[in-house]
């Protein structure tokens, strides 16, 4: 395993980067102009946060790379994002359900990181938290509006939840990188956030008239980098196209 602090920072940066890119795929094709603008703004916040995390990762690594090098010059096996965020957009409902599940975890995790013993990490968390609070307000409201909406919107939201729920567990897995961060008081134990997440989820799903799938099976392997889904590689061929075709291009 490489330096756990570098690994941890890549996880934070890659979550924001991969979800930011996914959400940006809606730019120009969202179902309504206001949604298009909201999605593009959410993507912009996430890509901005990714830059902060990955710049710090590169600084910690000390190998002369920067955020751009980490974003555009690594291949799929070096990415450390959760499997949830690399899942395809699907329909608008699936995109918003993915956003809601991620935002609920992200907000709680960032809130805990504002107490990090590493002041650089606490500063990025403090900045990001304000933006992510907005994201969660919107995604929770949209999940409720569509879940408790028409027959069709309800059906689509239930389908999205059934499809994405097996990716929730990975957000709360604790491994050796987390253990090193917990020992150094840099980051919280992901397991400690589960109860709060579950009760918030239950509250929103009840209001959205959606049924939480039973069972606790969870896909894993994204944050450790052991096993990404096939979707990430396809996404990177788009996101990294320019640097792959014209390495070191500048303009």
């Amino acid at each position: 395993m490489s330096d756990p602090l570098f690994e941890f920072l890549c996880r934070m940066g890659d979550n924001a980067l991969v979800l930011g890119h996914r959400v940006s795929e809606w730019c120009g094709v969202a179902p309504a102009l206001e949604e298009d603008i909201a999605l593009a703004n959410t993507a912009l916040d996430l890509v901005g946060q990714a830059t902060l995390w990955l710049d710090l990762a590169a600084e910690v690594e000390g190998a002369g790379r920067d955020a751009d090098a980490l974003a555009f010059r690594r291949d799929v096996w070096d990415f450390r994002n959760l499997l949830l965020v690399e899942q395809p957009n699907g329909d608008f409902g699936q995109t918003m359900m993915r956003q809601f599940l991620f935002d609920a975890w992200h907000r709680a995790y960032l809130a805990a990181l504002t107490d990090s013993s590493d002041t650089r990490i606490a500063a990025i968390a403090e900045k990001s938290l304000k933006e992510v609070t907005y994201h969660l307000d919107r995604s929770a409201e949209t999940v409720i509006g569509l879940g408790d909406g028409t027959e069709e919107s309800h059906r689509r939201m239930q389908t999205a939840l059934d499809r994405l729920f097996p990716f929730v567990g990975e957000m709360f897995v604790t491994d050796e990188v987390d253990a090193a961060m917990i020992t150094a008081c840099i980051a919280p134990d992901p397991r400690s956030l589960r109860a709060g997440f579950d009760s918030y989820l239950a509250e929103v799903l009840a209001e959205a008239k959606l049924i939480q799938p039973s069972g606790d099976f969870s896909h894993k392997g994204g944050k450790s980098g052991a096993r990404h889904s096939e979707h990430l590689g396809h996404m990177l061929t788009q996101m990294q196209w320019l640097q792959r075709a014209y390495p070191d291009a500048t303009w």
Partner: protein, 155 residues
Amino acid sequence: MVTDKPSLDTVWQWLDALPDPEIPAISLTDLGIIRDLRWSGDTLEVTVTPTYSGCPATQVIAMDIETALNDRGIETLEIKTQLSPAWTTDWLTERGRARLADYGIAPPQPAGGPSACPLCKSSNVERISQFGSTPCKAQWRCTDCLEPFDYFKCI
């Protein structure tokens, strides 16, 4: 080279005249993003905090500050980015809030929404979307004059 270093008060006045690139009605100092100015030897250190982490105006702002101060004869300056404490709309100046309202953008309110339509002043307003044309704004509508307008989000 500058032989006599301008006072920090003078530099603040120069920065007072620099418009925000996306909302030119207000200045960078109105926005409250310039957190500190100090001389370190012959180098002027300007500490700037971003409004939103992905705001594309951030780089333009750094360039504008550099150009403006270079034009005034300050040749060596360092622009420092400071994330914490995170920028808050509480740092908007009273003058900035008044300028936003005159420009047609409702200034931020702790209640989380505009107090009145910036055009007809009616308090009957409704939210269209939490997000708007720039990261710092949301879209609202007046239910009396029916005009949509921008609201500067409170963060």
